[in-house]
C-alpha cells in the first residue's frame, strides 16, 4: 500500500506542463502564444509514455485512491488521443479567431487530468475531484470567447447546471457513504454485498448519483442544457464536451455501476432502461428540425449517449467492450465532423447553418468526402465504425434479453439516418452560393481529417484489433 507514482505519472506530467504553460503565458508575446500549444502537445506525448510505463500492471495505487488496471489504461489512452486531436484543432481555431491566449492550452491539459482521474478513480472523493477539475476547466473554456454573447451565455448555463448537478451527485455520494460507511469503491461493494436488504438511504443515494452523472453525460431528461451550451461554445470546446467530457462521465459511471453496485443491477437497470429510450428518442427526433449544424450535432451527441447507455444497461462483458469500442468510433466521427464544421465555419463561426453546406461537395471535394464519411458513420451505415459500434452495443443488449430496448434503439437510429443524410444531400444537390471568404484548409487539418476518415473506415471494416484491446480492458 504505497504511493506508486507510475500509476499517476501521466496526470503528474500533464499537471506540471499545464502549470508551466500558465507561468510562461505572461512572458510570451501575445501573437506567439499559440506556440504554447506545442508545449502542451509535448506534454501529452510524454503522458502517453507515462501510460505505457504502467501498462499491464494491476494494482491499487495512491492509498487505494486509484485503480491501475487495463480498463483504466485503455481509457487513459483514449482521453489522451482525444485531447491531442482537440489540441491540434484548437491551435488552428485560436489562430483563425485571433484569440492569442496561452491559458487555453493549460485549461485543456487540466481538463484532461480530470478525465484521467475519473476513469481510474477507486474512491468517490477522487471521482468527485476529477469531475470538478474537468468541469471547472470546461466552464471557462466554454466561455472563452468572452466578447461574444453566445459564448458567455453558454458558459453561464453550463456552469449553473453543472454546479447544480454536482450538488445532486454529492448528495448521492453522502447517502451512499452514510449507508455503507466508506467512500472507497471496493469497501462500498463489500458492504453492499454483506447486507442484501438494501436500506432506503443507499437506494436514494444511488438514485441521486445517477441524476448527477445523467447531467454530465446529457441523458434525458437531464439533457436540456446540451444544445445551448454546444451551440455557444467554441467548436473545439464543443468537441471536448461532446466526446471527452461525456466519455469521462460515462466511463466513471460504468466503473461505479459495474464495480461498486453490481448487486444493485436490477435497481439501476430499471432506471437506466427508460432513460436510454428517452435519450435516443429525444436526441434523434429533436435533431430532425435543426437548421444549425452545431445544434444538430449536439442533439446527435445526445442520441449517441443513448446508444452508449444501451450497452451500459446490458451489464455484461460484451456491453463493456461495446461501450469502449463505440466511444472510440464516436470520438473519430464526431471529432472529424466537427473539424469539418470548423473549417467551413471560418472566422467567427459565421457559416454554421446547414444551408451553408449547399453545393460544398463539388466545390471542395475533400471536405465533402470527409464529412460524408463521418455523417454516414454517425448514421450507422455498414462499413463504417459507427455501424460496428452499434452492432456490438446492441448485441450486448440482446445477450441480456433486452429485446424491447434493442427494437427502440434500431427504430430511433433509423430516424437518425434522415438528418445525417440531409446534410450530405444539401452538399451534393444544393446550389452553391458565391462565398465572400473562400474556405482554406491548412495542411495539419488536411492530415488530421485524412487520418480520421481512414480510421473511421478501418474500424468499420476490420474492427478486430480494437475489439481485442477492448476485450482485454473490459475485464475489471
Amino acid at each position: 500500500m504505497d504511493i506508486n507514482y507510475t500509476a499517476v505519472l501521466p496526470e503528474i506530467i500533464l499537471s506540471l506542463v499545464g502549470i508551466s504553460i500558465m507561468l510562461l503565458t505572461p512572458f510570451v508575446p501575445r501573437e506567439r502564444q499559440t506556440h504554447l500549444g506545442y508545449l502542451a502537445l509535448a506534454g501529452i506525448v510524454l503522458a502517453f509514455f507515462g501510460v505505457a510505463m504502467g501498462w499491464g500492471q494491476t494494482d491499487l495505487a495512491f492509498f487505494e485512491m486509484i485503480f491501475q488496471d487495463d480498463f483504466g489504461q485503455f481509457c487513459k489512452i483514449f482521453f489522451l488521443f482525444v485531447s491531442t486531436v482537440i489540441l491540434l484543432i484548437s491551435m488552428n481555431y485560436l489562430e483563425q479567431e485571433k484569440l492569442f491566449q496561452g491559458e487555453f492550452f493549460a485549461l485543456l491539459l487540466f481538463a484532461t487530468v480530470g478525465m484521467l482521474f475519473m476513469a481510474t478513480s477507486a474512491d468517490l472523493i477522487m471521482t468527485f475531484v476529477g469531475l470538478e477539475v474537468l468541469s471547472i476547466s470546461t466552464y471557462v473554456l466554454a466561455g472563452f470567447k468572452e466578447r461574444e454573447r453566445k459564448s458567455s451565455e453558454a458558459a453561464w448555463k453550463y456552469f449553473l447546471l453543472g454546479a447544480f448537478s454536482t450538488a445532486f451527485l454529492l448528495y448521492g455520494i453522502a447517502f451512499v457513504y452514510g449507508a455503507t460507511g466508506s467512500t472507497k469503491y471496493l469497501q462500498i461493494a463489500e458492504a453492499i454485498q454483506a447486507s442484501p436488504d438494501y436500506s432506503l438511504i443507499l437506494l436514494v443515494g444511488v438514485g441521486l448519483m445517477l441524476v448527477g452523472f445523467g447531467f454530465k453525460v446529457a441523458l434525458a431528461p437531464f439533457h436540456a442544457w446540451t444544445p445551448d451550451v454546444y451551440e455557444g461554445a467554441p467548436i473545439p470546446i464543443m468537441a471536448l464536451l461532446a466526446v471527452a467530457s461525456k466519455g469521462a462521465a460515462l466511463l466513471a459511471l460504468a466503473r461505479i455501476l459495474y464495480q461498486v453496485l453490481p448487486d444493485l443491477s436490477q435497481q439501476w437497470q430499471a432506471i437506466l432502461w427508460p432513460s436510454a429510450v428517452l435519450t435516443m428518442a429525444i436526441g434523434n427526433i429533436a435533431a430532425l428540425t435543426q437548421s444549425n449544424i452545431k445544434r444538430m450535432l449536439a442533439y446527435s451527441s445526445i442520441a449517441h449517449a443513448g446508444y452508449l447507455l444501451v450497452g451500459l444497461t446490458a451489464h455484461n462483458s460484451l456491453g463493456t467492450q461495446g461501450i469502449l469500442f463505440y466511444l472510440v468510433a464516436y470520438a473519430l466521427m464526431t471529432l472529424g465532423a466537427l473539424t469539418v464544421v470548423q473549417i467551413v465555419g471560418r472566422r467567427e463561426e459565421q457559416h454554421t447553418t446547414i444551408e451553408d453546406y449547399n453545393g460544398l461537395g463539388y466545390r471542395y471535394p475533400f471536405l465533402g468526402i470527409a464529412l460524408s464519411v463521418f455523417l454516414i458513420s454517425l448514421a450507422g451505415i455498414p462499413a463504417t465504425a459507427g455501424f460496428m459500434g452499434k452492432l456490438f452495443v446492441f448485441s450486448a443488449a440482446v445477450q441480456s434479453q433486452m429485446y424491447g430496448l434493442v427494437v427502440i434503439a434500431l427504430v430511433t437510429s433509423a430516424i437518425g439516418i434522415y438528418y445525417y443524410l440531409r446534410v450530405i444531400v444539401s452538399m451534393y444537390m444544393g446550389e452553391f452560393k458565391k462565398e465572400e471568404i473562400p474556405i482554406t484548409i491548412s495542411m495539419p487539418m488536411r492530415i488530421i481529417l485524412t487520418l480520421m476518415v481512414l480510421g473511421t473506415l478501418y474500424l468499420g471494416i476490420l474492427p478486430g484489433i480494437l475489439l481485442n484491446l477492448a476485450e482485454e480492458a473490459a475485464s475489471f
Binding site: I136, Y139, G143, S152, A167, A174, Y177, G178, E231
Partner: protein, 100 residues
Amino acid sequence: MISATHYLTLAAILFAIGTVGVITRRNVITMFMCVELMLNAVNLTFITFSRFLDQIDGQIFVFFVMTVAAAEAAVGLALIVVLSRHTGTLDVDQANTMKW
C-alpha cells in the same frame, strides 16, 4: 437528545430550498447562492454521517467539497460578470439568444 435524523432532515430541507431556489429564481446571483446552499446541505449530511458512524472519512470529504466550491465560486462569479456585461442585467431570462 438530537439524533442523526434531525440533522439529516435539516440537511434535506436546506437541499430542497436550494433546489427550488435554482428552479424558480431568476436572478443569476441568487441562483448561484442556492447552489451553494445545496452544497452546504451536502456538507451537513457528510458531517452527520461521519459523526454517527464515528469515522473521519466524511469530514475529509467536506474539506474537498469546500475547496472545490471555492474554486467554483471564483469561476462562477467571473462568468456572471462577463454575462452581465453582455446583457446589462442580472436577469437570467435575458440570456436567451439561443433557442430552437
